[in-house]
Symmetry: D2
């Protein structure tokens, strides 16, 4: 494997300490690796250090990771990722805009992920998914309780090898059991500009409040409903001529673009989760 | 006064009814008035009609208003405004960005308002105001209770003839007594993207929540704190490199531009208050 | 047909004259029609009047149109449109983002148009189109000259009944013959923030200029390349870390959302063409 | 000076080479300096390396700079800046919005610069400047040719010690002589979204083109008129109801905020000039 040109994303988060950049970059230098890109950040309040470096050259991934681990403080998180397409499973309900945007990117080879399957609690989107030769699983919530339904959804999810679960307008509330089973693996698009308008029909709430701007928030899901680390947000202006359905329509365009942007950041290992926040390089 | 070319802004809000546009435009036509601009809106939910027309020509304002009143439904709100500079009183605390933007526009003749006075609960901004030859009144809140302080502020305000009170980062909570005394006359800039982060130090809240966007909201003040009709909103993107002071700095730029835009809309009689919302033409 | 509740969009553009709003609204009033929405605009420079009214009630479309025509100045443009799905033909090359967004909206029933066919000068997008059960026609430009190719494209287009031709990233230059044959019927998405960076590979141009913002422009096509009336524009911020391919990727997201917004405005008869500009209600 | 806690901004741009981050961070580590923030970027096309590090600790600035210089490639640009208020001279004509925004920030202590003087080719803004106890120099262009006028302006400028010249809506064209005399020292706000609408009255041009967005561009001035490296850009949406004066008004708000943002970036040594582009950390 000597002449192979490898590429790796090195992701470090750990307690801040003097010399971290020096110690890490020394290893890259001594191994003759190229630094394709490099970003660091120190969160002063918590005293945490974050670093994302893309290196290329001739290296053995395990050796490199071990060597890096030796110079880092104890309890450091160290990831060495060889870039390749990640895998995702999508959960949906009835709305097609967020799912559709991801399917189109996928079919154009622009997604940086392979879609393993789409799971819906309604059949509405089955035809759309099947058009793209992707498995669709209908898991009805009719006649079963929340626990039973979620158990069935998890069984479907777990039958796939996946890196992330994407909630592309999945309109069911997830239990703490579900969320804690897939820690830091669930990405959601929230139909609002968090922390505003938490709960049902945010567009009606927004309309009734007479807002002049509609937003959307993509975030990791934690057990606190709608309160996980924010990955990306954006907005669109509205005015009094918008009824709440118009606001919903405008909101959908923001939702899908924000979810796709967040997904792209996560799939490229550009996002660190830090407590209830994210560091995005 | 026959040959004079007058201009008037006609503002109507009333229960919707068939023929309103016809009945109103008929009056303008029969009087030979020019319609310089005209906008209408019907809020279907409440069945309310809003119309703002700018007419020019030869007319007697009282006659015209009376004639219009006769064709409108009962309980209609009808305003006929001859365009001229309105008057405002500003309330401030220590921060200069919102006040400064208004002072610069004022001194360039671009404000559509005459600033009658600035009242501060701190002396910090006195020098800035005086530089522009505008009266500054320092009403200290030291050693007096809220009611006494507000009484003094109201006494100062009431010594001026004014159309609107502008809270340009006035950091005192107003009592219901104050607010109800100046109904639909108080404009505030809220240091946040309402309805998010209500309360003290919103930038610290935003920072702790890890938001990717900072907003500001200009609104009329009602007795519900931070809950009055929204006039204008805008946002600015931020990221993890912003500490809460950076967010505050970024937020100030949005605050001042949103307040100035809202003020310009109000001063040009472009804003209808409709329940807890606004119609902005 | 007496008790039927009809709806019509009335679109008027003509020389401005006193009493137009009165004369038109009088007709609606006397016929007992409801005005669902109404917007007017007078372009003072050219002395042109624009009006878009949505009325509902019991009417005969031909009678109503004739009656309206009688009160308008000569040479007035008057359209009375009964709302229904319009029909479109799409022209594409290789990129799927703009087409894909339209296909997803179409399949969700959110497009306000029926897609009659997609015509490509490459086969790249055939599979995507066929997935949605929409006819795809491949008209190769290989081995034929521009005139011959365009003739073949026009033959395909003309075999369909259509309201608009949408260039969803069609990368061939159209001849004046083509453009003048479909006056005011062709909508294009320009890969740039017009009037900047006209011509080939605008993202490379933008990159080389070191811009901090990338834009896109949807416009009607006239014989002046990239110079037709602008319908909608938007932008996305970029920075020095974007190479030109990153800029292109970012640009695509703006392109597709701007094209879809422009299309929605046109399909809802909200756009007047006025010389080289648009009035958008 | 042993116990003093110093702070320095280290700015490096040079040919890219392996080990640069290692070699530089080694020096910081061995000297026991804290890295407060650190950003790097490699422009692959030109093979150039950019690094901005803020260090704090106990150091002698000259020694540190010399040591850093020894490990960098030849022809490297190396700056070591001890943070302190920079100094600026402003050139203005008649419009007050850009100047006013800077004056307000200055008077609030938020500018990171000391304003040495304002030079105007009209007297219009004298009163405003004098209100803030800042010297104003009126250099009339009446009755003298361009060279003579510019000579006089330069004489005034050169009588001050300054870091940057800020053109805050200075409406005179500068000669190549002037520009080359202050290389990389002149910051301009362009009344348009470059590269569009170069030349006189861009708002009239924008109006005539029927744009839906108005922009502004802050850039360094080079001998190519309006073609220097872009520092910051932003936009504001407009519509058909804006005449060109409305567009100008809207444009002014963008102009002043873009100029102030660019100025803040430059004053904090966050901007590298790289050919006709900027790297902004």
């Amino acid at each position: 494997m000597k002449n192979t040109k490898n590429k790796a994303r090195i992701l470090i988060d750990c307690a801040d300490a003097k010399g971290l950049v020096y110690l890490v970059s020394k290893i890259f230098f001594q191994r003759g690796l190229n630094i394709d890109s490099n970003q660091e950040f120190v969160d002063k309040e918590s005293g945490k250090f974050f670093m994302r470096t893309v290196v290329s050259g001739d290296f053995n991934a395990n050796d490199l990771k071990m060597e890096l681990g030796r110079v880092l403080p104890s309890h450091a998180n160290l990831r060495l990722v060889i870039p390749k397409k990640k895998t995702i499973v999508l959960l949906v309900t009835k709305e097609s805009h967020a799912l559709g945007d991801i399917l189109i990117r996928h079919s154009a080879g622009e997604l940086d992920a392979e879609i393993k399957a789409v799971i819906g609690n309604h059949k509405t989107l089955e035809q759309l998914v099947v058009r793209f030769d992707i498995p669709f699983h209908y898991v009805s919530a009719q006649g079963v309780n929340r626990t039973e339904h979620e158990y069935e959804v998890m069984r479907k999810i777990n039958s796939y090898d996946f890196d992330y679960i994407v909630l592309a307008k999945y309109m069911r509330i997830l239990t703490e059991h579900f969320v804690s089973h897939y820690t830091q693996k669930i990405i959601n698009i929230h139909h609002s500009f968090l922390p505003a308008f938490i709960g049902a029909n945010p567009y009606k709430q927004a309309f009734e409040r007479g807002v002049k701007i509609i937003g959307a928030t993509a975030h990791f899901v934690t057990s606190d409903l709608d309160e996980g680390p924010i990955i990306a947000q954006n907005i669109i202006p509205v005015n009094h001529r918008f009824d709440w359905r118009d606001m919903q329509r405008a909101g959908r365009d923001v939702e899908k673009s924000v979810l796709s942007r967040a997904l792209s950041l996560v799939l490229n290992d550009r996002v660190f989760i830090h407590g209830n926040k994210t560091i995005v390089f």
